[in-house]
Amino acid sequence: MADSDANIPISSEEYKKVTEELYKQNLEVVRLYKQVENLNRELEIANEGQANLLHIINHQIKGYLAKARGIFSELLSEPSYGPVSLAAKPMLEEGFNSLTEGVDFVTDFLIASNIEKGTFVYNMQPIDFKKIVIEVGEKLKEAAKEKSLSFDFAVADGDYNTKGDAGQLGQAVRNLIDNSIRYTPAGGLKVNLGREGNKILLSIADTGIGISKELKSKLFTKGGRGKDSLKVNVNSTGFGLSFVKGVVEAHQGRVWADSAGSNQGSTFYMELPA
């Protein structure tokens, strides 16, 4: 039946009708495509505007915080203001420390935003990545201990010399380990540093809340935190892992995560060229 249908010649009118119909359908697709393109363009402009606004606001906030921190610092250290009473000193110190944290937080945010925009200028120098990881690991071991988490730290023998921005790579390693500590309510972490061929591989395996399938695709994007993230980590900004990705990729490396799913732990990997 199908064969005999196929052999029936179609008239030129029918042929024209089909051609015109196909043309109309293609035209509709092109119009829809143009609409999507326009919407994308508008979205890009809106996103850029929002990012610029955030940047300006953060610069202003940083200015206010730094000024307030300066006042606390002066009161604590400048003799011309007279001696600080014993009762007031802890309060002033608390204020100074809190404002220092605030300035650091906003500075990190501004750096992360510049990294994402691709406008950050890295200070590329010969570095020993092992030294960076050990320094960060030693500091964060305490944070793990405070949460009663185990913290195994293993560094394989080898050469970990590479070229990079020590400050930003250190912050990226800190973000990864800190992220695992924050999202691990019980159990612990295993941090491993090793060499694989001409690559340096850092892995952080935890027994934490894991990564759902839905979250996996947006984990390293700006604001890409899980829906229950704030329940576990009230300080989550959603920028930490996006910052890591920006830094690592600027060093021609890659970062990724594996997890069997929610509540099954996660392993984060950072790979850098040696």
Binding site: K16, E20, Y23, L27, V30
Partner: protein
Amino acid sequence: MTTLDQIAKKIIKEQELIIGPLAWQEAEKVNGVHIIDAKSGAVTVGNGDSRIVIDKLVSQYERLFGRASREVCREAAAPFLASLAPAEMPLSLK
């Protein structure tokens, strides 16, 4: 590049979005349309009255694809029409 050259180029480019490279093949068949480089979209119209060449180009597409294609040509040419004197305006685009 004259305004009518620009109109021809825009019409072919718009048709290309819908029917692909066939748009250039069909344009080439029109007497008076000279395709210098399809990739860069370099086109001139000549051989007598350029207005009539544009009309022929529009008809070439309409003959194959119907009225919808004429509307596409009109929409494509619309931004250029204001700069044409009434005497220069191709009838198919009025």
